[in-house]
C-alpha cells in the first residue's frame, strides 16, 4: 500500500515536468556592470523576459570588462561561452578574427531585424573603427552602453574661486592651480584628477594632434604626441602638484577619482559619462559637465561596449540572443537605459524624441557626451589593438607620473614594442 502511494505521488510530481518540456529558449547573458548600472541592466533583462514568452535571458555579473574578457576566453576555449555578452571596442578586432563572434548581417536584415540607419554616427561598429584602407568587417556587434569621457566639475567650487570652465590644456592647468588648496605640506583639495589610463591618454594624444597608428595600420605613430600627452600629466602631478593620480590599477583608479570628486577633495575630474547618474545622485554640490579641453583640437575616444553573439552557441540560443540585443537597442529601451545611467542613447530617433528632448532640457549634463560625439576619434581595426592597449600602453603610463622613467623613454619603448607586435600580426 505504502509503495503504491509513493508511486502515485511520484507520477503526479512528474506530470508537470512533461508538460513543461516546451518552455522558453534560455540563453545566458554575461555582463560587466556593477553598482547602479547593474541594477538597470538586470531590470531590463527582467522586462525583456516579461515582454515575450519565446525566449528567456539569464544575466550574470562577471566583474569588470577585463575580468569578464578573461572568463569569456576561457569559456570559448571549452566551447561553453554564453550566447550573448558585451565587449569593449578595442577587443573586437582580435576576437572577430579568432572566430568568436556570430555574423549579424542576416539577423539585422531578417524578419526580426533592426534599422541600422537609425543608429547614431560614432556609436556603431562601422563608425567606431578605421578600417585602414581595407574592406570593412561585416556587422557582428550592436552598440550597448556607449560613452565618451567628459569633464565633471564642482560648480560651487569653481564659482567660489572665480574660475571659468577650462576649454584648453593651458586653461585646465591654470584652473587646477587656482582650485588646489594646501595646508602646509598636505594638499586638502586637488584642482584636477584623472585616472592615468589608456582611454584618457588616447584622448590627449588626439587633442595634441597625434594618432595611434599610421593610416595603413602597419606602424606606430604615437611617439611624439603621445609623449606630449603623457608629459602634460607628469607636469601637473610633479611640477604644479595640482593633479592627483588616483592609485590602483584599471577601474580601481576610476573609483578613487569618483569618490574623491564626490567627497569634494578635487575640483575637476575626467571620467566617463557612464557615471553621470551615479555622480548626480550622490553629489552634495552643484554638478557641471563640459567637453574635454583641447590642445590643437577637440578630440575624444568613444568607449563603452558592444553586444555580440557567440558563434559557437547553439542556433536557438543565438536566435534568443539576437532577439534580446535587438530589443535592448530599440528606441524605447535605449531611452530608458540612457536616462537611468548617463550612457548615451544610441538611436537618432531616441535622441530626437520629445521625451529625450524634454529630459535634456531639464538635465543638460546628459547632453554633453552626445554633443561631444562630433569630435570622436576612430580606433584602428587591428588585431593588435587590444594588445597595444593592455600590454604596451596601460601598464606603463604610471611610471612616468611616478617619476621612475621619463615620458619620452616610455613612449620610445612603447613605440618599439608596438612595432614588434604589429610585425607579428601582419
Amino acid at each position: 500500500m505504502f509503495l503504491v502511494a509513493w508511486l502515485v505521488i511520484a507520477a503526479l510530481l512528474g506530470l508537470p515536468g512533461l508538460a513543461g518540456a516546451q518552455g522558453p529558449i534560455v540563453a545566458q547573458f554575461w555582463y560587466s556592470f556593477g553598482g547602479k548600472n547593474r541594477e538597470v541592466t538586470e531590470a531590463h533583462i527582467k522586462k525583456f523576459n516579461e515582454s515575450q514568452a519565446k525566449y528567456r535571458i539569464e544575466g550574470t555579473f562577471q566583474g569588470d570588462y577585463f575580468q569578464a574578457l578573461a572568463k569569456i576566453r576561457a569559456a570559448a576555449a571549452t566551447k561553453t561561452a554564453p550566447a550573448v555578452f558585451h565587449v569593449i571596442g578595442e577587443a573586437e578586432p582580435q576576437l572577430w578574427q579568432a572566430g568568436l563572434f556570430e555574423n549579424l548581417e542576416a539577423y539585422a536584415k531578417g524578419p526580426n531585424g533592426t534599422n541600422l540607419d537609425d543608429f547614431l554616427p560614432g556609436q556603431t561598429q562601422a563608425t567606431y573603427f578605421d578600417y585602414l584602407g581595407k574592406p570593412p568587417a561585416p556587422l557582428f556587434s550592436l552598440p550597448f552602453f556607449r560613452s565618451t569621457p567628459i569633464l565633471y566639475y564642482n560648480a560651487d567650487l569653481l564659482a567660489a574661486k572665480g574660475v571659468k570652465v577650462p576649454t584648453t590644456w593651458d586653461e585646465l592647468r591654470d584652473a587646477a592651480g587656482k582650485l588646489t588648496v594646501r595646508e602646509g605640506t598636505d594638499t586638502k583639495v586637488y584642482g584636477f584628477e584623472v585616472p592615468v589610463d589608456w582611454w584618457f591618454w588616447f584622448a590627449l594624444l588626439h587633442q595634441a594632434g597625434g594618432s595611434l597608428l599610421t593610416p595603413d595600420g602597419k606602424k606606430a605613430a604615437f611617439r611624439e604626441k603621445g609623449t606630449e600627452a603623457l608629459q602634460f600629466w607628469v607636469d601637473l602631478v610633479n611640477k604644479d602638484k595640482t593633479m592627483k593620480r588616483p592609485p590602483g590599477k584599471d577601474y580601481s583608479a576610476w573609483e578613487v577619482a569618483n569618490t574623491d570628486f564626490l567627497n569634494q577633495r578635487v575640483g575637476m575630474i575626467f571620467t566617463s559619462t557612464a557615471f553621470l547618474n551615479y555622480i548626480t545622485e550622490n553629489a552634495k554640490f552643484k554638478l557641471g559637465t563640459a567637453f574635454l579641453p583641447a590642445k590643437v583640437k577637440q578630440a575624444v575616444p568613444t568607449g563603452g561596449t558592444f553586444f555580440v553573439v557567440a558563434r559557437d552557441a547553439p542556433a536557438p540560443q543565438k536566435e534568443a540572443g539576437w532577439a534580446f540585443i535587438k530589443w535592448m537597442t530599440d528606441p524605447a529601451q535605449t531611452i530608458s537605459l540612457s536616462k537611468a545611467t548617463g550612457y548615451m542613447p544610441i538611436r537618432l530617433s531616441a535622441i530626437n524624441s520629445p521625451e529625450m528632448q524634454a529630459f535634456y532640457k531639464e538635465n543638460p549634463n546628459y547632453k554633453t557626451a552626445i554633443d561631444q560625439l562630433k569630435t570622436a576619434q576612430r580606433f584602428p581595426f587591428s588585431a593588435a589593438l587590444i594588445e597595444i592597449q593592455r600590454e604596451v600602453i596601460q601598464p606603463n603610463l604610471e611610471a612616468a607620473v611616478l617619476g621612475i622613467k621619463t615620458a619620452a623613454e616610455i613612449m620610445a619603448a612603447a613605440e618599439a614594442k608596438t612595432n614588434e607586435i604589429l610585425a607579428k600580426t601582419q
Binding site: G99, D250, R265, E398, I404
Partner: protein
C-alpha cells in the same frame, strides 16, 4: 585437534589473507591518491604540456619548444623573483620571530593570556579578501585610520600602497599582521612540550632567563622552528589574494610576486604558454627548496628524550 587461532599482533599465517590486506590497503588509499593526482599532479602535468606552446585561449596553439622558458629569463621576470624573495624573507623572518616572542610572553595559563592568544589568532582565520579590503582603507593616506593616528603624533602621512618604494613592505606588514597567530600557536605548543624539570635543573645550575632560553628553550624548539620555516616559506611564496586586492601588482610592477605574475600572464595578457612555464619553474623551485631546508636543518634538530 583444532589449530589455535593466533591473536592480534602475530603475522597472518595464511598468505592469502596477507595479500587481501595489501589490496584492502590500496583500495582504501586509492580514492585519496586519485583525488591527489587529479587535483595536484594533473594540473602540473598539464601546465608542463602547455608550457611548450604559445596559446591565448582563442586562437590555435602553436608549438614553440623551450621559447617560453627562454622568455622567462627577462628583466621583468627577475624583478618578480626579487620581489617574491623580499616578500618571503620579510614575512617569514618577521612573523616567525615575532610569533616566538608572543608565544614566550603568552605562555601562561591565565585567562588574560588566553584572550590575547585568541584575538591574535583570530586574524589568521579570517578571509584574505576581508583583511585586504580592510587594510586598503586603514592605510589610505587621506582617509585612513593609520594616517589619522600619525597626524595625532604630528607625523606626516605615508603613502603605504601608492609609493613604489615601500608598497611591497606594506604588504609584508599586512601579511605578518594576518598570519602571526599561526607561528605563535605552533610555538606555544612547542614550548608546552618542553618538560619543566629541564628549566628547574637549569635554574639550580644558576642559569638566568636569557640563558635558560638560549640553552633549553631554543634548542628544544628546533623541530618547531624547522617546521615553521618550511611551511611559512612555502606559504609566503603563494601569496596572491593580498596583491590582487590591494595593489594589483602596482604601483608599476613593484608588488608583482610570483603567483600574481602567473595570473597576470595568463588572464590579463593571455600568454598561457609563458604562464605555464612559470608554473613549472615554480613547482621545481618549491620542491627543491623544501628538500634543501630539510637537509640543512636535519642535523640541528634536537628531540627531547
Amino acid at each position: 585437534m583444532t589449530a589455535p587461532r593466533t591473536g592480534a599482533g602475530g603475522p597472518s599465517p595464511v598468505p592469502g589473507r596477507r595479500r587481501r590486506e595489501t589490496w584492502l590497503g590500496y583500495a582504501l588509499v586509492g580514492p585519496s591518491v586519485f583525488l591527489f593526482g587529479l587535483v595536484y599532479l594533473y594540473p602540473v602535468a598539464y601546465s608542463a604540456w602547455v608550457s611548450v606552446y604559445t596559446w591565448d585561449l582563442v586562437t590555435e596553439a602553436r608549438y614553440v619548444g623551450l621559447e617560453n622558458y627562454r622568455d622567462l629569463w627577462s628583466a621583468e621576470f627577475r624583478e618578480v623573483v626579487a620581489n617574491t624573495a623580499l616578500y618571503s624573507v620579510g614575512v617569514v623572518v618577521l612573523s616567525q620571530g615575532l610569533g616566538l616572542v608572543l608565544a614566550v610572553l603568552l605562555n601562561n595559563r591565565t585567562w588574560l593570556g588566553a584572550i590575547f592568544q585568541a584575538s591574535i589568532f583570530s586574524s589568521y582565520v579570517v578571509s584574505w579578501v576581508a583583511v585586504s579590503l580592510l587594510w586598503i582603507w586603514l592605510l589610505d593616506p587621506q582617509y585612513g585610520l593609520v594616517a589619522y593616528l600619525l597626524s595625532l603624533v604630528k607625523l606626516p602621512s605615508v603613502n603605504w600602497l601608492g609609493d613604489h618604494r615601500i608598497a611591497l613592505g606594506s604588504l609584508v606588514l599586512v601579511t605578518v599582521w594576518k598570519t602571526i597567530g599561526y607561528p605563535m600557536v605552533i610555538y606555544l605548543a612547542g614550548l608546552q612540550a618542553i618538560p619543566g624539570d629541564l628549566y628547574e635543573a637549569a635554574s639550580l645550575d644558576g642559569a638566568g632567563a636569557w640563558q635558560r632560553f638560549r640553552h633549553v628553550t631554543w634548542p628544544l624548539l628546533t623541530p618547531t622552528t624547522l617546521f615553521l620555516l618550511i611551511t611559512l616559506t612555502v606559504a609566503s611564496f603563494q601569496g596572491f589574494d593580498i596583491v590582487k586586492i590591494m595593489t594589483q601588482g602596482g604601483p608599476v610592477t613593484s608588488t608583482v610576486i610570483y603567483v600574481y605574475y602567473i595570473y597576470e600572464q595568463a588572464f590579463q595578457y593571455f600568454k598561457l604558454g609563458k604562464a605555464s612555464a612559470a608554473v613549472v619553474v615554480f613547482f621545481a623551485v618549491i620542491v627543491a627548496l623544501t628538500y634543501l631546508q630539510w637537509l640543512v636543518f636535519r642535523r640541528r634538530v634536537h628531540y627531547a628524550a
